[in-house]
Amino acid sequence: MLRPDLMQALLPARERERIEAYALDDAGAGTDVFGTSATGIGNAYALAYWLHRYYFRVVSTGHENIPLSRGGVVVGNHSGVLPFDGVMISTDVFRHTDPPRLVRFMVDFFVYSMPYLGTLFRSLGQVPGTRRNFDGLIEEGHLVGIFPEGADALGKPAEDRYELFPFSHGHVELAARHGAPVVPFGVVGAEEQQTVITNLQPLARALNLPFIPVTRTFPWFGPAGLLPKPVRYFIHYGEPLEIDPAVLESIEVRATEVERVRDAVREQIRVGLEHRRLVNEGRA
């Protein structure tokens, strides 16, 4: 086992203070009601901080759009075979909000049926994507992260890079019901961390997994072939969107609002791609 004190000793002092400043609502047995533990968050942040700063060298803007106290829904694009985009969003928000806030993503169920992985995700504050879990998180004032493209988007082939899959409707309905703002974000870079050649869908279905990718490195190099390339991430958060409460009464309004969120995410991706181009050209 990794000792939390040693893990966190690797962090700069101000980042350790940030972990200590995170207010975990201890339910009595060392975790909050969702199973999140201070040790889990501390260890995860100790590792993710270095990935954020030195491996993916994340450049991010728009943090002023993230609610500092109330609940909110953080919605964006998903890609990269392994969900490092989710890890980087959580880390980025944690680093750039004061007091630090944790984005708790709604995670695909299959994760929780796997040994260690489900327990790990839960201790980091990531919960299975059920309506009741969403309700509980928002009611307690948390930031809830959703990838409305679903886990399938992780296996997005290279020719579909930065093309958004259709969005599920649940996030706008739930945001409207709670009157929570939707903060769109775009992640640029994750799509290049792996080059997906194809997706072995029949095998994935047989194994009850969302996808099994064939990439330039997987399965040829074994599990190590799933690791991401050290591409630079550009993350942009857009202005919060208030969802029309009529989504609870009309399927047409709901579809329109989903498209509005999708357009907002697409716009953040465009901003991110432009930002990357300028950086690559040495103009930013």
């Binding site: 009595g28 047995a29 009601v33 049926s113 260690y116 489900g118 299975p128 059920t130």
Partner: protein
């Protein structure tokens, strides 16, 4: 007050709690066989034990016809008599579990009982990776055809209670308690904790919110003494990972790969190291089950002062 299932540890605790309240005039405890030693010391003017087979309608009916209750009839019935042990399950066990609930409820309604409480279990809930962080009373039930028959018996018995919940004269309640730890009770969770050592699957650490015998008895007492009907969860004070509760008691579990859990449990039972049955709730050690008892909290615990003030 009639308490069926007097041989259970929780019944003994509940009876002791209730007898401290002078407003309760007399308790009739019903069980199979002789009176348990723990109940022998109670004041015979306020407590009596009777042996009866609850799956026999006539015997159940006779419980309401004792001379002691002719002037002041029974006004409250608590049904705790349930055989959850999957070992040796057969049709007679099914008849006992389901028919006892039916006969007792029917007799209660016929004899003008004002409150009927059935102690169910959290085993009625479906468990899996799609689990909610807290399970409310309207959550999905474990109706999986492969679920243990005793769990289906509890659900059957609950359905009888729910069918009569509209009764204007009787408040019918179903209580679904979280697993009980300690006190030598025969709950699945406690049997796991009493194992030498508890065997858990590698890589899983489900969230639980167990209660204690004393807390559960107090909660049942509140449910009996305050007005209310319907289905309620009853949970312990705080949720946490299973291993945290084991650590607090100085228990070190043994880990085996998930697919080998049942075999390891079977071997442990053969060696006398455990009385826990992994088959009873096979997913319980893999996935979280935290009961949401906010409704019970609001309807009963927050009104507990009314009980003490009379």
């Amino acid at each position: 007050m009639l308490i069926a299932g007097a041989r259970r540890k929780i019944a003994a605790e509940l009876i002791a709690c209730l007898l401290e309240d002078r407003r309760i005039e007399k308790i009739l405890a019903v069980g199979e066989g002789a009176c348990p030693p723990g109940l022998l010391g109670h004041d015979p003017n306020r407590f009596m034990f009777h042996s009866a087979t609850l799956d026999r309608r006539r015997q159940v009916d006779n419980l309401f016809l004792f001379e002691e209750f002719r002037e002041r009839p029974l006004d409250t019935v608590v049904h705790l008599a349930f055989s959850g042990n999957p070992k040796g399950y057969d049709v007679s066990r099914h008849e006992y579990n389901v028919n006892a609930a039916r006969h007792l409820l029917d007799a209660s309604l016929r004899h003008g009982v004002g409150k009927y409480v059935f102690l169910s279990s959290d085993a009625v809930y479906a468990i899996g990776p799609r689990g909610d962080y807290k399970v409310a009373e309207d959550a999905e039930l474990n109706l999986d055809p492969s679920s243990p028959k005793s769990v289906r018996d509890i659900i059957d018995a609950e359905f009888y209670c729910r069918a009569k919940m509209d009764s204007p004269a009787c408040e019918v309640m179903v209580l679904r308690p979280a697993g009980v730890i300690g006190g030598g009770v025969m709950s699945g969770l406690n049997l796991l904790f009493e194992s030498h050592p508890p065997v858990l699957p590698i890589g899983f650490d489900p969230m639980i919110n167990p209660t204690t015998k004393e807390r559960l008895a107090r909660d049942i007492q509140l449910a009996l003494m305050l007005r209310g009907k319907g289905v309620y969860n009853i949970a312990g004070p705080s949720p946490g990972p299973l291993t945290r509760f084991l650590e607090q008691r100085g228990i070190t579990p043994m880990r085996v790969p998930g697919p080998l859990l049942r075999q390891a449990n079977r071997l442990q039972r053969m060696l006398g190291q455990t009385r826990y049955h992994a088959e009873y709730q096979p997913k319980r050690l893999f996935y979280s089950l935290v009961l949401d008892d906010a409704r019970f909290e609001a309807a009963f615990r927050q009104r507990a002062s009314m009980l003490t003030e009379g």
